[in-house]
Symmetry: C2
Subunit: 347 residues, 2 copies
């Protein structure tokens, strides 16, 4: 089918679509009562391993909000978990590794990812793709090498990335070896999802904003660039999104990694991003999720400001600037989706 | 005395000094064993109320490291606490208000700050100033209106500032009334410290980086600009520093508030800041405190990179890019201080 029939893919390519496409990072999850009804207790990694459950959770926000893409219900530590690194996701805490990555010997716990390691993920993608209409793509995703490395090295969510930065500056050769493995892992993980029916992908470098531009350019960019470059060879024409929180100071560098779409949080205006990166760059974002929590009036006013900032450019995928907060009233997200569709509808 | 005799004041004015001055945000505190020996248990607000104890704690890092300024041992919620708003600092948590600021009636809990409310603070400043040699100034500080507001409105430290942003966008008139009171409070608090013997000040807008440039410009900048403007009238020639974490995207706006010195974290290079703000702007920063935690080798290499980034400009006050982490080995800070003095010594 042609891109104009698929608003998400059209916008990613900068082509006009029936309306500006909408999806929400972390749209599948705790904000939805139907999610809480089926999810059960325990680690997300356990839920992800049940393809029918994971497919149902992936589809829920599409059914409820009428969003234009279904992002796989998964987690960025899945590949490291799948090769036996020894990492889990503790409910209420986040990724936890009992034995963090600290020395060269830990590289042995990161063998290459094989398709057979993640059969449950590709099964989920196939189930979701079979259910969705042709104009709603499944989005693959993976954690970018830096952000995954930060979890493996810190052993738990961090605010200052002390061990990660100590590794970068104290043992740069080991850091590079780790990043090479994680880049290959991200390629394999995303490629498997695309092979199973996903039609675009997002690389989450959520915590890269903790770095200076100089450190990002030297110790991170080469590996993220490898991910986008290799995926472009393996899956030509499939759009990739590059996203991080509070990465305004890294905008040009993250764009230089090679994504088709740059994901923005609310700290970077869409107009400013086009000024810095080129007038035709495709952008995703960037409504502050805190405004969605403040109720429909504040949220809808915020959505209108995002659209005004974009000024009618076709190369825009509407999203939040960060993931949906679990406390969010899902009715507000439905209203935001409807408003964006209404205000941008071209039919 | 002339500024060349006081390295801190010379650098703030862009004039050559005997060496690049050094101090560390949160230098007085838990990283020092001599602090832990005298501090006792309980809230920092209790310790601050004992001028001899607070003066001793303020002086400790100067004695140990030979830094070029002594920043008052205090807390940004002191003024709100002193007028009876109902806020304390819970050890291990941070500022906590049992009844957060949520409606117009809460303005009554923020009467104007009078000198008599904070006699213990001015007594501490006077004790410290009497002890220090003439070439080491005492630094006053206060929280900027936005950052103090975020504590009053959230009621505790926050990651997403949901209530604060809801107030800004849902009740902008009440927000402005709150910010006016907090701006006047910051002026009164800093002015009292300067009157007691402090010779420069820092306005901490630590969490302003959570805002978009548009929101900062409309809802925050006018009030921070009032603080710097009024203090310049009351205390002409006294340099003010403006600092926030992860504020690269607000750099021009925070500079426009009127400080003599702009404080940078490690996300903004000193050279880039001079390119954006003007070649002669005075800057403070910006060694990543995570590198100091990684040991002397990594810390000293990082300090050399900061000095290289500054390229010998006289308008540079060396500091970390954020506060000293309590786990820091204080010996490393002493080594960093000595290295900066040695490499920049002009005598």
């Amino acid at each position: 089918m042609g891109a104009p029939d698929v608003p998400f893919l059209a916008a990613a390519r900068g082509e006009p679509a029936a309306h500006t496409p909408v999806w929400f990072m972390r749209q599948a999850g705790r904000s939805l009562p139907e999610y809480r009804a089926v999810r059960g207790e325990g680690s997300i990694l356990h839920a992800i391993k049940q393809p029918e459950l994971a497919a149902e959770i992936t589809l829920q926000p599409w059914r409820r909000h009428g969003v234009d893409a279904a992002v796989l219900y998964s987690d960025i530590v899945v590949p490291a978990h799948a090769v036996g690194f020894g990492i889990d996701v503790a409910p209420g805490t986040g990724p936890v590794a009992e034995q963090p990555f600290r020395s060269a010997g830990d590289l042995d716990r990161l063998r290459p990812l094989e398709p057979g390691d993640i059969g449950y993920v590709t099964d989920t993608v196939a189930l979701v793709a079979a259910e969705l209409p042709a104009h709603v793509p499944v989005l693959a995703f993976a954690g970018a090498p830096f952000t995954v490395a930060s979890y493996l090295v810190e052993g738990r969510p961090s605010r200052d990335y002390v061990h990660t930065k100590a590794l970068i500056h104290g043992e740069p050769t080991l850091w590079r070896a780790l990043m090479e493995r994680l880049a290959d892992s991200a390629v394999a993980f995303i490629s498997a999802q695309l092979g199973a029916g996903a039609r675009a992908f997002q690389l989450f470098d959520s915590w890269a904003g903790a770095l200076s531009p100089a450190d990002y350019a030297e110790f991170v960019l080469p590996y993220s660039r490898h991910v986008f470059g290799r995926l472009a060879e393996l899956h030509p024409g499939v759009p990739g999104i590059h996203y991080g929180v509070a990465c305004d100071h890294l905008l040009e560098l993250m764009h230089a990694a090679g994504p088709q779409v740059i994901g923005l949080d609310w700290r970077t205006s869409i107009a400013a991003a086009r000024q810095r990166l080129g007038a035709d760059v495709a952008v995703q974002g960037n409504l502050d999720p805190a405004l969605v929590l403040a109720g429909a009036d504040v949220a809808l006013a915020g959505a209108r400001r995002v659209l005004a900032d974009n000024a009618g450019h076709p190369a825009h995928i509407f999203n939040l600037g960060h993931g949906v907060n679990p406390q969010t009233d899902p009715g507000v997200l439905t209203e935001v989706t409807a408003l964006v569709h209404e205000l941008t509808g071209r039919s």
